[in-house]
Amino acid sequence: MSEPVAGQPQPGVTPVQGPPAGLGMFLYKARKNLTGSTPYLMMGGIGLWLLTWWLLCEVFSVPRFEKMPGPVAVLSELFSVEPFLGISVFTQEYYQHIYLSCRRIFFAFMIATGLGVPLGLFMGWSKTVRDYAFPILETVRPIPILAWVPLAILMFAGFEAPVIYLATLASFFVTTLNTLLGVDSIDESYFRAAGCLGAKRRHIFWHVVVPGSMPFIFTGLQISIGVAWFSLVAAEMVSGDGGLGYLIVDAYMNNVTVPMVIGMITLGFVGWITSALVRLVGNRLMQWRVRALALEGR
């Protein structure tokens, strides 16, 4: 018996009219999205939030809120060519801070991934490695990263190394544990199937363990980059020299609030971009998963 394959037109079945292509599809989607109330409500939500902020801080100057800069003050400073307080999108200093923080995150993230992923993979792959390494990891992990600050300052000379060390430590734990979890999540039958097909132990590592734990690894990396930002900010605040965390705390010391809020907004934005980047890379590497999920999502 040979069945007709999907792809050949079958007699007696009305052909499904295909989706419109290109611009037609775009217009169709846009129309469909705009007919519901959701986009308007969402815009309304953001608007409402900005309005509340504005009213509280700038219009009515409610006690305590008056100390905070309102959205108008922040935005006009952020986009002014000659900023009153020295920080705006047109100043080099602003980008200097972003660059410094991003560079630190980059190094920390790379080191943590470079150490954490292999360690996690080996721990999942070999029971011996796991039995030895896991208890140490679990003993050290409950110590909050920020408790390391003084030690980090003592252990590493200069400004840069302690900050990177702290961010690395934070993301290292998350990455390692998620990778381990990823290896554990691989169905036993994949190992067996590979064994049946004649794969040796090293083949199984490269063809089953590594790709099979990918989804968890990337979930871990997304969390890990968030945690890295979290500790980076703290470290920059305490010991740093430059960077967005420093920008915030420096503004606080100088009693100016606007650059502080600019620093916060920028942090949120840059943090969001980096985690989106990680997701993007993950999706590129895991086409098999993206496509399967896209079909299920329907």
Binding site: P144, I153, V233, A234, W272
Partner: protein, 285 residues
């Protein structure tokens, strides 16, 4: 070839081990113990290298050896100030954590059950979420009248976002057939909320709480270091560490770190325990 007697089962001569023998034969346990002991010994040697061989190893050479840490710990144990730090930190963590739960759970549930509420309030929430909680510290120091309140606020923020996201995810992933079953048995909207949505979200609430607790400790610690350091309002384990750092007592820094590790572990265990008590159906198996 004939290795089997017809009734193999009864003729087995396998000796059953006692519980004690099994404990001794537990390879995993002994490997773990060995690993930790080795780490401690290496740490001791690394730290004392300077004393013994006359030059300092990088990194590890700056950390006091575990034996000194032990001595320092025994020294502070009877002191009231040390236990007061525990108390103060716990108080702050609890305040921030509880307020985050109290506000976060209803907010998350409201986001989950009402579409309009979600459409309006979720976008600002998502805009604020990527800002690391510690970035709020200076702003909240300015905003709130006392240090204590600003610490509480930042702590609250740290746990709040995590809890809301977990509650929302949990409530949205409840199996629709539960809702339908209840509906066809005559449940009103209110019934469905109390009897289906709430218990169905409970596991996610506890997951969120466990993660939130971890963040809370981080934030409290940082806030204590950044704001409390040096002022009379201080106290707390973060301050204990910072103070030891300022005073140059390296051993006490490590004591503080270990204490905080223990405190964090205790609080997350407490949440796990509470989870098993509140969700008996998850305790099984």
């Amino acid at each position: 070839m004939a290795t089997t007697a017809p009734n193999v089962y009864n003729q087995r001569t396998v000796v059953r081990r006692t519980r004690w023998q099994k404990f001794l034969a537990n390879k995993k346990l002994w490997r773990g113990v060995t690993a930790i002991l080795c780490t401690l010994v290496l740490w001791e040697i690394g730290s004392r290298w300077d004393e013994w061989f006359g030059f300092r190893l990088p990194f590890i050479g700056f950390i006091p050896p575990p034996s000194d840490v032990m001595v320092a710990w025994l020294e502070v144990l009877p002191k009231i100030g040390y236990w007061q730090s525990w108390y103060l930190s716990f108080k702050r963590v609890l305040a921030g954590f509880l307020s985050a739960m109290l506000l976060g759970i209803p907010f998350g549930l409201a986001l989950a059950v009402n579409r309009y509420f979600r459409d309006i309030f979720f976008p600002p929430f998502e805009v604020l979420r990527p800002i690391p909680p510690l970035a709020w510290v200076p702003a909240s120091l300015i905003f709130w009248p006392t240090n204590e309140m600003s610490i509480a606020f930042v702590t609250f923020l740290g746990a709040f976002f995590t809890i809301v996201i977990n509650v929302l995810g949990g409530a949205r992933s409840i199996d629709i057939s539960y809702l339908r079953a209840a509906q066809s048995m005559g449940a009103t909207q209110l019934d469905m909320f109390w009897r289906i949505v709430l218990p169905g979200t409970l596991p996610s609430i506890f997951t969120g709480a466990a993660v939130g607790m971890g963040i809370t400790w981080e934030v409290v610690l940082a806030a204590e270091m950044i704001s409390g350091g040096g002022t009379q309002a201080g106290g707390g384990l973060g301050f204990f560490i910072w103070n030891s750092y300022m005073g140059g007592s390296l051993e006490q820094i490590v004591v503080g770190m270990i204490s905080i590790g223990i405190a964090g572990y205790l609080s997350s265990s407490a949440i796990r325990y509470l989870g098993t008590v509140c969700m008996p159906w998850r305790r099984l198996f």
